[in-house]
Symmetry: C2
Subunit: 524 residues, 2 copies
């Protein structure tokens, strides 16, 4: 047994003296041992001081060393073995297969960022050679690289206890960028967090990184998390969670003497647009696949398809029958926490009780479980009532039946920012889809065709982001290699002697890295 | 005479009915004709509506067309001929040669962004081809491009009436990105703004761009500018000006239902670090060059060197003598506005009256003019009093004499974010400079060696940015090709049929554009 209930402050394990956090098994309601001690503001101060000290040495470690460190974290996560998987199952109610899959994703994510670090692509190197003879004024030698912003605070998500938590995407991309990380453990899975933190702490030690490269804090309330975002030594924030939580962090960050960027992924209802020819060809199949996506992981994905737009037709009725039948057959699943289950129930009750909403399918609730539900309203009603636009986190969706494509476009135009939009289309729908694409592009980070939005590839071209409130910063992605850019900023060196230049910008820089030479991409 | 006192609301010229703005010739105090009518909130609403309508068609115009449009703006600016130069001289008190040079820079800037648009580099294209056979799950086809964020509000700077105003860097980069621009004219140079706006309006017409691609608003107070930033149709803000002004726009943008990014360039004292061997070798020369940089344009540059750090020595006395002699010989120059002159005078008086500050050189003030000044304090005093860290906009600098390199480093560490830092070093100073570089990198956007920070190259590798309060967003630059990234965000297309993909992402995309194919840069 490797699990410890202590905070990780740099290289130390510290018993937290500020209240206690206990996990609950959401499947049984049972309280789990041990109690994790909450961090004091003094613990926080020490972790921030260590991170500040670690920043300069950590960021200037050679790319190979930083990449090996990320790979070492992956190895240490795997080395935790079944203890990590079993604890995670206990704390989340998620099935073992899902947790094992998520561990694989988390490990691959760390390895992908190691490859990014080795490539140097994220540095966006640029060299404008001097033009001493230029008239009227000579041009100086100008060289640009990106450097990390500084220590990053990471707030893990409840719904991805590995891939978006302590050793998840925010931590991996921040460490890859060269930023020390201070992770605030999610109170729903403190044991999983402690184990993942231990893996990172071991990798820091094994790879000889400065101890302040990583710390893990438990917070028995909200004061420590808030103080973390407000601490002058923290230079950026990564967060995945509720809209209210993200908004609170944004406000704290904006109110600092030095405002800092917050990357909060918050709220999305992920519209699915069903086009007439696609429905005519395969309404039943689309209905089944939709129900499978809606109920995957008890609907607890950021990309859960919570909104369906379609025109009225007999084919739509076939879709409704197919989806409803599949949803009625889906067993209610254990939700991540009692709070999420209660919030889901109240969201479903609000839809069911809305005067302009009809219930198409609704399974019976059970304590702590989320039962699938499908509701129906009209385009007119949706346009009239913003209350219908909010996220109901869980396996519920609202079908908005539109009078015509113009009304579907109008509905699209009033949507808030989204992570995804999905088109179900056949070739004969292309013209109609094309007319909607500009509006969709303005609203979302990813547009999918003939698939469903759950399932987010970790790769180079992925965007898991989108305009507010999908995220706090629609210029970024939190999944895929682009996530590293969130934690970087450019620095230009003018007429800097070779001896003082960063190694990657010297004339004798290691061959193979890409750079813009006088504006043109070329390999060094 | 082409000058009109009207607002430009899309293709129309509209007499503003909300108060009047008159320019003053700062050299004579004379009020200049005509009176420019302030925009009403209704004018603003119409301009925003036109910009919203223009966004989709404008952003999807082919790169060649958008590039030609930027070049047409450059041509139209030149075609305004002497009327533009003369009006600009009248409104700013800047000499004709400076204005002609700035016009050249403005024109080149537009042409550089045209080249960027043609290259497509800013789109950061990425393609992860499908892997249908991958286990356990196939990988979908994923393609990424960057799209513009939407209509941008641009607030011009007083100190660069052409290069950072209506047709300046923010406008050029936003239009290049594909964003319509709503420019708020600076009240100190409304005529220059009107003429530059006319050039853009003509280019919109000649190139067949949607009329809402550009509008120009005058504001007789602050209400119109504030309403502009708060308007839901505006998706980003570019601003160059005071710290208070930038902070006000940041607060407005953060308080919106949909918060938006603000790129405000605000405040920087641009430390110059004099190292012992460099001083020993060429103290007199450095003093002269420093004085020339400090007084260039009456010190009204964002990169004006307002802070000098050095160790006490006989060589430093030589520097002081040389700089003071040159500064005493510099005639007081007309400042841009009476307000700037008054604010400069009060900043200089505060330094002169500070108990821990000695005056080394101070020329006699004259009404509306800025006289050079050089002050001296100690590292201890500077560390103790944050009031000494603020920007005094104009030709004044504070020399901080440090006890040793450790104290110089301590001073560096307490500085706020800066646009630039300058090192005066010889080879024997390299080791000492290297010890300070990490701290400087954390504070600034550009580090110069053996030059002076005034003079900002418009090129690929330039960074005109830096941590707060140098700018509101240290992840960006407002000068150089990188400025376009401020107005872009990524969108991913998953399994999108070729027919629906943006042209640049199709398999048959025009040869020659760079893209990341499965993570590796290659030409299409």
């Amino acid at each position: 047994m490797q699990l410890s209930s202590h905070l990780l402050v740099g290289a130390r394990a510290v018993p937290g003296a500020n209240g206690a956090i206990r996990a609950t098994n959401p499947a049984t309601g049972e309280t789990l041992e041990p109690a994790f001690g909450g961090a004091t503001l003094d613990d926080l101060d020490q972790a921030c001081a260590l991170a500040e000290q670690a920043f300069d040495p950590y960021r200037e470690r050679p790319p190979q060393a930083r990449a090996a460190f990320l790979e070492s974290i992956a190895e240490q996560l795997l080395a935790l073995g079944d203890e990590l998987v079993e604890r995670c199952v206990l704390e989340t109610g998620l099935p073992r297969g899902r947790i094992e899959g998520e561990r694989g994703r988390t490990v691959n994510q760390l390895r992908l960022f190691a490859a990014v670090v080795r490539s140097g692509d994220h540095l966006d190197l640029r060299i404008d050679p001097a033009q001493p003879g230029r008239a009227p004024l000579p041009r100086p030698d100008l060289r640009l690289r990106h450097i990390p912003v500084g220590p990053v605070a990471v707030f893990g998500a409840s719904n991805f206890p590995l891939a978006f938590s302590v050793a998840g995407g925010d931590t991996a991309s921040a460490l890859a960028a060269g930023c020390p990380v201070l992770a605030k453990a999610h109170s729903a899975h403190p044991g999983t967090s402690a184990l993942a933190g231990l893996a990172i702490q071991r990798a820091v030690r094994d790879c000889g990184m400065p101890e302040g490269t990583f710390s893990l804090l438990f917070d028995s309330g909200r004061a420590v998390g808030q103080a973390l975002v407000s601490d002058r030594r923290i230079k950026a924030v990564g967060f995945t969670g509720s809209r209210a939580g993200g908004a609170a962090l944004m406000a704290l960050a904006a109110a600092r003497a030095e405002p800092i960027p917050v990357y909060a992924e918050m709220s999305s209802i992920n519209p699915v647009l069903l086009f007439p020819h696609a429905l005519a060809a395969r309404a039943e199949e689309i209905g089944k696949a939709f129900a499978a996506s809606l109920t995957l992981g008890v609907g607890q994905f950021c990309t859960n398809p919570g909104l369906v737009l379609a025109l009225d037709s007999a084919d739509l009725d076939t879709f409704i029958d197919s989806a409803s039948t599949a949803l009625r057959a889906a067993a209610a699943g254990t939700m991540l926490t009692a709070g999420i289950a209660a919030s889901y129930r109240s969201g479903v009750d609000a839809l069911a009780g809305h005067a302009a909403v009809a219930t198409l399918a609704q399974n019976v609730h059970a304590e702590g479980k989320g039962a699938a539900a499908l509701f129906r309203t009209t385009g007119v009603a949706f346009l009239a009532d913003h209350a219908l636009h909010g996220e109901v986190f869980g396996p519920a969706a609202l079908l908005v039946v539109c009078r015509d494509m113009a009304e579907m476009r109008a509905v699209t135009e009033v949507l808030e920012g989204q992570l995804t939009a999905t088109l179900q289309i056949d070739a004969d729908d292309y013209a109609a889809a094309m007319a909607l694409l500009p509006a969709l592009e303005r609203k979302v980070g990813r547009i999918l065709v003939n698939g469903f939005p759950t399932g987010v590839e970790v790769s180079t071209a992925m965007v898991h982001g989108g305009p507010f409130p999908a995220t706090s910063d629609g210029r970024s992605t939190s999944v895929g290699t682009g996530a590293i850019s969130r934690f970087l900023r450019p620095v230009c060196y003018q007429n800097m002697p070779q001896a003082l230049l960063p190694a990657v910008l010297r004339d004798d820089a290691m061959a193979g890295s890409w750079r813009r030479m006088d504006g043109t991409l070329a390999k060094a």
